[in-house]
Each structure stands twice: as C-alpha cells, then as structure tokens.
Amino acid sequence: MPYLAHGSYRIRYELEGADDGPIYVLVNGLTQYAELWAGYRSALVARGFGVATFDLLGQGASDKPSLFISQDDQVAALGLLIDQLGRRPVFLGGISFGGLIALRYAIAHSDRLAGLVAMSSFAELSPQLLLLGNALRTGLILGGTSYLQDLLLPMNLSDAWLGPQLGNLEAVKRQGWLTNDVYALQNLMESFLDFKPLTGQLGAITVPTMILNGEFDFLTPRSLHESLRIHIPDSALVIIPRAYHAFTLEKAELTTDLLARFADGVLAGKWKGGKSVWIAPEEAGGPLVPFPSDQDHLRAIPRATEPA
C-alpha cells in the first residue's frame, strides 16, 4: 500500500494504468474513500488513461489528524500526488468536497493540469449549503457516522437506486462506517469554519473545465454550479438527467464515459467550453445535447431565458 508523506502525515494512494500518457486524478467526497473509484479505475484504464486515487487526510487509510485538518493541507497533499506523476497530461476530477479541493488546486496550479472536472461542486457556501452543512455536522455529533449516512443516502441518491437497496442498506453503509471515524469526519467538516468563498479566484483557472451537475442535486443545486460556469473562463456546464448529488456512485458508467470523452476532446484540440450549457445523455455513449438557448437552465419550470 503506497503512501505519500505530507509533513508527519501519510497519504495513502493508488496508481493504475500505463506509466505515461494522460492520467485522471480523482478526489473523494467528504465521507468517501478511494475504493469507491474502483469501477472508474478499470474503465478509464481500458480507455487508455492512467488513474490516481487517494484518501484525503482524515479519510480511509490516510492519517487522521486528531484535531485540525486544513483545506490547504488537502490541496498540498493533492499537489504531492500530482507532482510525482511527472509531465504527463493530468486531468483532475473531484466530487463535492473533493471538487472544492480540486478547484482550489486548479486556481493555484492550472499550469500543471490539462483539464478539470468539477462534479457536484461549489466555490461558495450559500445559506442553504451552510445550514445543511451545520445540520449534517450536528447529526454526526449526535448520531455518529451511521446517522450521517442515513441523512446523506436519501438526500444524494435517487429512488431508482435506493429502492432495490432498501433491504440491504446496512451492508451498503458498512464499509463507509468501518473506514471513517467520527472525530476525523468532524475535523473534515470543521475545515469549513474559516472558509472563504473562492468565487473571485475562479478566473485563475485557465484550463478546460467540465462542470457536472445532477439534474436534481439538492445539496449543491444548479445555482452553485452556475457560479462556477460564469467565473471559469473555458468552462461548460453539463447537466446529468435524473441524477442527484452522488451521481458518481449511481451513474458510474455514464460519468466515466463523460470523463473519457472530455479528456479525449481536450487532447484532440476539439474542446470548446465557451461557458456553454449541455444536457448529458441518459446512458453512456449517447450524444450530449445543447441546453435549449431560449430556456432558463436554472429553473425546473420551463421559463424563457431572461434578457441579459
């Protein structure tokens, strides 16, 4: 099990695929662990990409600082991993908290990246997100990891996914519960106590950026992704039909396909961000469709686009 050293702390990581050529670096969400990317590893390697995954500080098999984890340390740990990949084209993707860490890295080190994929991500804490985050932290404190999972599962996954799992939810939760410690999750959540919005710095992200947002994402809704689209110069927002916040778990095949197509497009010089808005296909391999230009993509009810 390989580790990187960040000061006195160790970061567990895994590399798969060829030693050269383009590589995806994937960053976990707050309650996740690197094994959740296992399906992405095999699928992306089969399409010619290397894949690097790791446990953030405080997660899984990485060290869990006992009292404080700063987001700067997470960005530094991610930097260590990217630094050891050499000069190959690096595509960085992150989900939720991992998307925030990826955005922070891209703001400071766009020159090291070939492309960025921000999934269910945010650059600011809206009042809703702030209050939801506080409530989730209280849930963790009062009810432990299991209760936090109980809150997150119905919030972040669809009925279509949850329905067949209803009799098996304890097994679904077990690995995450075993892997994550209450105090470490709490430290990760409390890394937001001194959080400052990144919105004003997003213009420093100069690489092609694909923003993926589930159609029904409740935790980080469209408005937070819209802020990314508006402020990242070479961006495109892709809305994933019928998806919630945790679509990387629920729609892994589709998401993998979108990641591979994005990187292929960038490497072939065909990527055109232009702050455009797209609708992803329902299934992997289908066409991406431009969001109707006469409709407002921020609304669920059909509404004509308001004049600028």
Binding site: M1, P2, Y3, L4, A5, S8, R10, R12, A61, S62, D63, K64, P65, S66, L67, F68, Q84, L140, I141, L142, G144, T145, R174, W177, L178, D181, V182, Y183, A184, Q186, E190
Partner: protein, 207 residues
C-alpha cells in the same frame, strides 16, 4: 489474523477469552478517565464546557459498569501484567511547551479522553454475523456510540479559543496520546488474533 473478533462460538457469541481481554482494556481506559474526571468535579464550575465534565464522569462510570455486567469473563492470567502496563500508560504525562502545570494537566487529561473515544472503535471489531441482541455486542455498540458524543467536550476544550495560543503543543499532546492508545489497543487485539485498527500506521512503501 482477522480484522474482526471471532470466530463466533456455537451460540453466535464472541469467544469469552476475546471478550475478557477487550473488556479489561476498555474498563482500564474508561475507568482511568472516570477517576481523572472525579478529581475535576471537586473544583467549582466556571466555564460552560465544564458542565460536560459532570456528565462525562457518569458516562465513563456507566461504561465501566456496563462492561462488568455484559462481558462473559474467564480467567486470564496474562491480564495481571497487561493491566499493570495499561494503568501505567494512563498516568498523567507532561505536555511539552507549557509551563502552566494546571493547564498542562487539563490538556493531557482531555488528550487522553480524545484518544480513548476517538482512536478506539470497539463496535468496528464486530463481525457481520455477530448476534445483535448479545449483551457484549450491544455493550460494544453502545460504548462506540457514546464515545462519539463524549468526545465533544474534549473537542470543544482542545480546539477552543483559550488554547489557540498553544495550538502546536496541544496538537502534539493529542497526537501523542492517540499514538499511545492505538499502539496499546492494537497490541491487545493482536494478542487475541485480531488485526489492529491502526492500518494507516502500517509502514508500507512510502515516497
């Protein structure tokens, strides 16, 4: 060596030898915390977080009482030596970089509490098929659940504004107690054929 307690006996229970060793360790650790908290109760309560100390004293005592009653105890001669080494480990330790002895003592006590409640996850040792209604199983689950709440007083104190000027010293003290508690816990687990929980400390390949 496995990651979980067991194999379960014919009735579906954790083997009494394992129960005895695990429970003895937990009684020693939580008993030490209860004793330390008992001393703090002699002082007047001046800050809000100190109200937690009263609750914590009784919760630690309840954990000890629960384990004494819910464990299938067997004779374990090695416990004499082991318990002595555990009790020695819980003794107060100096906190480097702090000249205020009273504050250093409070930080060390909180650091030990943080480590016992944070680094030890007894319920995570239970195999999938452990009987949910078994008293020992229920006790381990309850202890882990309660630990997630009890640790909050230590977190509030150790991460509070009052200790910000001593952040490095506090961090070092807590990290040290975590290492100590994890090492003792893992050594005890290995002695009953269970892989330790401190996988992150595995000296695997490192760059």
């Amino acid at each position: 060596m496995t990651a979980f307690l067991g194999p379960l006996d014919s009735t579906g229970s954790i083997p009494p030898q394992q129960q005895t060793r695990v429970a003895a360790f937990l009684v020693s650790a939580h008993g030490a915390l209860a004793r330390q908290l008992a001393f703090t109760l002699l002082q007047p309560i001046k800050a809000g977080w100190q109200t937690e100390l009263n609750a914590q004293f009784y919760r630690e005592s309840e954990i000890v009482s629960l384990l004494l009653r819910a464990t299938s105890w067997v004779v374990d001669p090695e416990l004499l030596m082991l318990a002595a080494s555990w009790e020695a480990a819980w003794l107060p330790r100096p906190v480097r970089g702090l000249s205020d002895r009273f504050l250093a003592s409070a930080i060390d006590t909180a650091a030990l509490g943080h480590a016992v409640h944070g680094a030890i996850r007894p319920a995570a040792l239970l195999p999938d098929k452990a009987l949910a209604e078994d008293p020992f199983v229920m006790a381990l689950r309850r202890i882990e659940f309660e630990s997630g709440r009890i640790i909050q007083a230590q977190i509030l104190f150790l991460k509070g504004q009052d200790l910000l000027p001593y952040r490095d010293a506090v961090n070092a003290a807590v990290d040290e107690r975590h290492r100590q508690v994890r090492d003792l816990w893992d050594t005890m687990l290995k002695s009953i054929g269970v892989e330790g929980q401190a996988k992150a400390n595995d000296p695997g390949s490192r760059l």
